[in-house]
């Protein structure tokens, strides 16, 4: 499943990275704690969070995540959008809250990782 498939399936709005949606998603990772995402996310994961500040782009770039989905109707900060455009990181937004979005993504077959 690619990021584009997810965008279409869930009607996610695209805030940055319209042209970078073709990556295959390796799994889902939900966390708002940057140190945790850095420690445990895997390359190709799609990241679900409510964090909107520019550091999320640095983390996504560092860990080679395929996209960031902001939940609960959150919007990325202007600086975040700018940085994401520079780094080529798609930022998507959803009105759903984390629990439901993760739940639905899981049902499409995207898995969480094995237990730590």
């Amino acid at each position: 499943m690619t990021v584009s498939d997810i965008v279409n399936f869930f009607g996610l709005k695209i805030r940055t990275g319209e042209n970078q949606l073709n990556e295959e998603v390796t799994g889902g990772y939900a966390s708002d704690l940057l140190s945790d995402v850095i420690a445990h996310s895997r390359k190709g994961n799609i990241w679900i969070t409510i964090q909107t500040h520019p550091n999320i782009v640095a983390v996504a770039t560092m860990k080679e995540l395929t996209a960031i989905i902001l939940t609960g109707g959150r919007e990325p900060d202007p600086e975040t959008v700018q940085k994401a455009e520079e780094e080529g990181i798609p930022i998507l937004v959803s009105p759903l809250f984390t629990f439901e979005l993760a739940g639905r993504l899981y049902q499409t077959g995207i898995s969480g990782m094995s237990p730590c």
Partner: protein
């Protein structure tokens, strides 16, 4: 579903000794940050399970304010001693699962747990 079933689904440990595992839980809310927990103001607390990585007392205080049913810590995290004591005083069951938040939400959703709040109003 009962807290007991949630424990099974998530291979969870019950951290607060004699928690009431017969407690009925219908809704889930996932939050790593206290600020997001405030969104629960619109939900039905007592039937809600908070799914979180916050291990500090703030999570118990927040749960108090919204009368949440139970809390489960993800990613193998354990509450601090202060948090545990507060949970016992306030009779909030604490569970802990080795699964990550995404997996935890996924499994619970698959088993029928529904979101505490559907979506933001202008979503």
């Amino acid at each position: 579903m009962k807290l007991r079933e949630i424990q099974d689904i998530l291979d969870a440990e019950v951290v607060t000794g004699d928690a009431n595992l017969e407690k009925e839980i219908k809704y889930g809310f996932a939050a790593d940050l206290l600020s997001d927990v405030l969104a629960l103001g619109r939900g039905s607390g007592a039937l809600t399970l908070l799914i979180t990585g916050i291990i500090h007392p703030q999570v118990i205080y927040a749960s108090n304010i919204f009368d949440l049913g139970a809390i489960i810590f993800v990613r193998g995290k354990r509450p601090t001693e202060a948090t545990l004591q507060l949970a016992i005083e306030n009779q909030i069951p604490l569970l802990a699962t080795p699964y990550i938040m995404f997996e935890t939400c996924g499994r619970l959703y698959q088993h029928g747990l529904r979101p505490s709040i559907a979506k933001v109003k202008n979503g």
